[in-house]
Symmetry: C2
Subunit: 265 residues, 2 copies
């Protein structure tokens, strides 16, 4: 209460002592969360790192859960707002029907901006919470769903116009798969591609800045793929991997796959 006094203090020092302690707690908790993982973020570790008393966290945030939610909201809301803004901009410019490239770009780029080293804490927060959505408690899961619902609805609607040859439920699946790919792209820490355990597979590191375009190409072609493989895939398979024009690439997998949904995979 007493908004006036609070405002006065705020105006006085561009952040009252309380305000500064609050953001210091938030920043410290985020850094701990990003570097050590959620389990390592205890009130006492926060207090020690932020140089405040343990009671301060409950004083400013009410509870540890509230602190965690605020920590997440601070990062995920701007991300999703930018996604929606970019999508809306595409709609305006393109006169109502953004292309698939536009849509995918609007979804991917805001996320991949977090791969900048300057945003590493934010990246970790987004990754851990968004991936953690799958393994979180129902309450946390519902909270996360709230923050993602608008984005999902907007992008699924746009995608359904961009790829009308797909059934609506197929579009929803591909939206989720896009999210999975983006999350993995976001989760791989900078430099992991050149990590020792990958040395056998990679001879040269990924050139800086080329990954986003590659991811967009991957997603665009994947999303627009026909749902029935019978039309597109034999062609693509032949053009890519059959230099000798040998017999068709029939394996166990291909046989299973050719029978489609009948086998109940």
């Amino acid at each position: 209460m007493d908004q006036i006094a609070k405002a006065k203090r705020h105006r006085a020092s561009a952040g009252t002592p309380g305000e500064r302690a609050r953001t210091r707690i938030l920043d410290t908790a985020e850094a701990l969360f990003a570097n050590e993982g959620p389990a390592a973020v205890t009130l006492r570790s926060i207090a020690a790192a932020a140089d405040v008393n343990v009671a301060a966290v409950n004083y400013y945030f009410g509870s540890k859960d509230k602190l965690f939610e605020e920590m997440f909201v601070r990062r995920i809301v701007p991300l999703n707002e930018e996604r929606l803004a970019r999508l809306a901009a595409c709609v305006d410019v393109a006169d109502g029907a953004p292309t698939l490239v536009d849509i995918v770009t609007a979804y991917v780029i805001p996320a991949l901006q977090l791969t900048d080293v300057a945003n590493d804490s934010a990246r970790a927060i987004v990754v851990q919470y968004s991936l953690g959505r799958v393994l979180a408690t129902p309450e946390v899961n519902q909270m996360l769903a709230r923050y993602y619902a608008r984005v999902r609805e907007a992008f699924v609607a746009a995608l359904q116009r961009a790829v009308p040859h797909l059934a609506p439920h197929e579009v929803v699946w591909r939206y989720y798969w896009m999210g999975g790919s983006v999350m993995v792209a976001l989760a791989v820490p900078p430099g992991m591609i050149e990590a020792p355990d990958l040395a056998a597979a990679v001879v040269e590191p990924t050139p800086r800045g080329t990954m986003p375009a590659n991811l967009i190409a991957f997603l665009v072609q994947g999303i627009r793929a026909a749902s029935s493989v019978g039309t597109d895939l034999p062609d693509s398979a032949a053009t890519t991997a059959r230099p000798g024009g040998q017999g068709r690439g029939v394996g166990i997998a291909h046989v299973d796959f050719a029978r489609g949904g009948d086998v109940g995979l």
Copy 2:
């Protein structure tokens, strides 16, 4: 020690009392893990649900971490073994060079078999641990990396032969993105597509058994997509957005991307 006595007991009752308690603990812990999440799996909750004493868990598994590892290994090792076996089968049948469809199918199908309701606990274990890899402690992460290393090496090598137009580092990225998509497909619980919060976007549920084929189509087309030539992604997309007079979204997408790498994406 005393393998003889152990074997005798084992032979006697098709599982000694200890053996049966052991597997009961394992099954119970897995069910708790799948239904309530990792945080809810305490020694006391396991003991209560499995109708054993808390000391029994440490008696049989040595520690909680060992129990968790065994729980994970029991599910992930057969999964990855089947992936490798399917990949090897493709190589044999196709005489050295499996197609991209073969490779993707060999990777995807074993995982999606876990979406059967009968495998729901196994599905949850695989999802939670494999997604949790990103947010786990370094020790757990190293354990998980051990179990995935062979699969990754084999599939990346196969993919590099199947899509030789991509640079090795690009193939590695696409392998990871494939893993992200599969994990999301695996993480969505049965029936979630028709969940209330998705009702606005989906008018009809996904027909049973059609999802794997769709996912494979998505991945095959995505993986074989040409890499971009430049890194200036948003503008080229916007400028190529309107092919005059076409009017159909599918046409837009098709026109833009039928030319492969030429358009820059």
